[in-house]
C-alpha cells in the first residue's frame, strides 16, 4: 500500500541569506529575510503562509511571523525539538499538515547568529534535551558536541580501523564543493595536509572535522503537491520522510551502542515510504556536524556496511562525478551552519537543476538527513517530479 504521505507534499520554495561570520542582524531578521526569499521563490505571497515550524531556540516564534509578515490566519505552529535533526523532521510534520488539509503552505525557517551571538556550549544549556549531560557530564569537562561525539568516532576507529585520513576526505571534498557554490563562509581550498595540521579540538576531531559557527538564515516552504505543481518552480516532491530517536536519547554515554543514531530507525521507514533504496540515490546531502558523523550515517543509510564507511568514501566516490556526490553545497563544514536546512535547500536545487557549477548530472532522486541532540536522526527522500 502506498503511504498516505508518499508524494502528497512538495518543497515549493527555498530561500537563504548570505552565510557569514559576523552580522549586525538579529537571528529573527535573518530568519525573516530567508523566509521572504523562500516565499518569493515559490511565487507565493507572505499572506499564503498558514503554518510555521520555526527552529527553536534562536530566532522567532509564530507570533513574530504573524506580526512581521501580516499572516492573516496561521493555522499551525509547531516546534520540533530535535537539535540538528529538527529541520528534516519538520518536513515530516509539515507534510502531514498539508496532506491532511490543515494547511496549504507551511514555512520551516531558521535564523542563527552562531558566530556573532552565543556560542555552542551556551546555546545548548537552553535545551532540555541536554539536561542530563549538563548534570552528569559538563562538570567533568564534557558538554560540547565535539566532545560528546568524539568518543563514538574513537570507538569506530578502534573497532573498524577508520582513520584521520578518512575524516579528512570528507572535509576536503566538502570544501571543494563549497568553492563552487559562492554563498559560503569557507571559500579557500583545503588539503589533507591542512586538515591533519589543524589544531586538535577533542581527539580524534581536529578543527577541520568540526562544523562552522556562522551567522545566517534559511527557509523552505512545504506545500501540497498538487498546489505546488501550479507554482513557479519545477516540482520537487517528498517521496519518503521520517524521524527517529535512538535508545537512551538524552545520553550517549548510557546508550548500549554509542554508534546507534536515530537514523537506524528512520532510514528504513523513509526508504519504504519512498519505494526506493540506496542504489536509487543520485545525490545525498548528509548532516555534517562532524566529518565522522557523515561516514557513520552513510553506513546506517545502507550505502555500505558498518565499519566500511571510511574506505567507502575514498577515491572520489563522494565528490562531484563520483558514485555518490554528497554535500554539494559545502555543508555545515564549509558553507554555513543553519542546522541543516541548507542541506534540504541544496537537494531541492539539485533536483530542480538549479545547482550551477555543483550540479549533479541527471539528478532525479536524492536524500537529505538531519542529525541532532544526542543522535536523533531524520531523513527525507525527494524526487524531481515528471
Amino acid at each position: 500500500m502506498v503511504h498516505p504521505l508518499h508524494e502528497t507534499a512538495a518543497i515549493s520554495g527555498i530561500g537563504e541569506t548570505a552565510y557569514t561570520r559576523g552580522t549586525p542582524k538579529s537571528a529573527l531578521a535573518l530568519q525573516l529575510e530567508a523566509s521572504l526569499a523562500a516565499i518569493a521563490d515559490a511565487g507565493l505571497s507572505p499572506r499564503d503562509i498558514d503554518g510555521i515550524v520555526p527552529y527553536f531556540p534562536g530566532g522567532g516564534i509564530a507570533e513574530d511571523f504573524i506580526a512581521n509578515l501580516g499572516l492573516p490566519d496561521l493555522k499551525l505552529s509547531l516546534f520540533v525539538p530535535m537539535g540538528g535533526a529538527t529541520c528534516v523532521a519538520a518536513i515530516q510534520s509539515a507534510a502531514m499538515a498539508v496532506a491532511t488539509g490543515v494547511c496549504n503552505h507551511v514555512l520551516i525557517a531558521v535564523g542563527r547568529t552562531g558566530y556573532s551571538g552565543a556560542r555552542v556550549s551556551t546555546r545548548l544549556q537552553q535545551f532540555p534535551q541536554f539536561a542530563l549531560a549538563a548534570e552528569f557530564e559538563a562538570p567533568i569537562g564534557m558538554f560540547a558536541p565535539a566532545q560528546l561525539y568524539a568518543q563514538g568516532a574513537r570507538r569506530h576507529m578502534e573497532l573498524y580501523g577508520t582513520t584521520a585520513r578518512h575524516m579528512a576526505e570528507v572535509a576536503v571534498t566538502t570544501r571543494q564543493h563549497a568553492i563552487l557554490n559562492g554563498n559560503v563562509v569557507m571559500n579557500k581550498p583545503l588539503t589533507v595536509e591542512d586538515h591533519h595540521a589543524s589544531r586538535m579540538i577533542s581527539d580524534p576531531f581536529r578543527l577541520f572535522d568540526c562544523s562552522l559557527e556562522s551567522d545566517g538564515g534559511a527557509a523552505i516552504i512545504i506545500s501540497r503537491a498538487d498546489r505546488a505543481r501550479d507554482l513557479k518552480k519545477p516540482l520537487v516532491t517528498i517521496m519518503g520522510v521520517a524521524a527517529g530517536h535512538p535508545e537512551s536519547p538524552a545520553s550517549i554515554a548510557q546508550r548500549p551502542d554509542i554508534l546507534e543514531f536515530g537514523l537506524v530507525k528512520s532510514a528504513p521507514r523513509a526508504y519504504e515510504m519512498a519505494g526506493v533504496g540506496p542504489k536509487d540515490i543520485d545525490v545525498a546531502e548528509i548532516y555534517d556536524c562532524f566529518t565522522f558523523t557523515v561516514i557513520r550515517q552513510l553506513e546506517i543509510l545502507g550505502f555500505c556496511k558498518t565499519g566500511e564507511g571510511g574506505p567507502f568514501i575514498m577515491d572520489g566516490r563522494i565528490g562531484l562525478g563520483g558514485d555518490l556526490p554528497i554535500n554539494t553545497h559545502g555543508g555545515l563544514l564549509s558553507q554555513g551552519h543553519v542546522v541543516g536546512l541548507n542541506h534540504a535547500i541544496e537537494l531541492t536545487r539539485q533536483l530542480r537543476g538549479e545547482a550551477g557549477k555543483a550540479q549533479v548530472k541527471n539528478a532525479e532522486v536524492g536524500l537529505v538527513t538531519g542529525y541532532g541532540d544526542m543522535g536523533d536522526g531524520s531523513i527525507a527522500i525527494l524526487r524531481r517530479a515528471a
Binding site: L132, A134, P139, G141, M142, R155, D203, A253
Partner: protein
C-alpha cells in the same frame, strides 16, 4: 583625570551538577565516597542516570544501592579545546567512557594513564574527588 579602571573579569566557575529529586541520593552517595546506583524495586534492574520510572517493568519504586567501582574502557576522547573557560587550565585531559562492572556507564576524567596506553577494554577504577561541601565528582585511574 585618571583612566577609568575596569574590574577584572570574574574567575570562570566550574559547571556543577544541579541534583534533581531523582538524582539527589546518587550525589549524596558520591559525597560520602560511595557509588550509589538506582535499582528498580519491581524487577531489580539497575538504571543510570536516575529517573522516575523503570523502562523495563514501569515500576516507580526504586532504591539506591552501593555498586562496585571497577570497570573497563568503552571509548575515550582527549579534550584539547576548553569549551568552558574553567577547563582552560586543565587541557589536555582525557575523558573515558567506562563500562562499569555494575552494569551502567560512567563518563569521567582518566588520570595518570598515558594516551598511548589507553585501549578499549582496559581495566580502570573510579575515584572520588570532592569539589566543594556539596559536590564530589568521579574520576578514573588504572586498576
Amino acid at each position: 583625570m585618571s583612566a577609568p579602571t575596569v574590574a577584572p573579569p570574574p574567575a570562570p566557575e566550574r559547571p556543577l551538577p544541579t541534583p534533581t529529586r531523582e538524582s539527589q541520593p546518587h550525589w549524596d552517595g558520591m559525597r560520602e565516597g560511595r557509588f550509589l546506583l538506582q535499582h528498580c524495586s519491581g524487577c531489580g534492574k539497575v538504571r543510570h542516570y536516575p529517573r522516575p520510572v523503570c523502562p523495563h517493568c514501569f515500576s516507580m519504586d526504586s532504591e539506591f544501592k552501593e555498586a562496585p567501582t571497577g570497570g573497563t574502557i568503552h571509548a575515550w576522547t582527549v579534550c584539547h579545546h576548553p569549551f568552558n573557560f574553567f577547563f582552560k587550565a586543565a587541557v589536555p585531559y582525557v575523558v573515558a567512557l567506562v563500562d562499569m562492572d555494575a552494569g551502567v556507564r560512567v563518563n569521567a576524567q582518566l588520570k595518570g594513564v598515558a594516551e598511548a596506553d589507553i585501549k578499549i577494554g582496559k581495566r580502570v577504577k573510579m575515584g572520588f574527588e570532592p569539589i566543594d561541601k556539596e559536590v564530589t565528582l568521579p574520576f578514573f585511574v588504572a586498576e
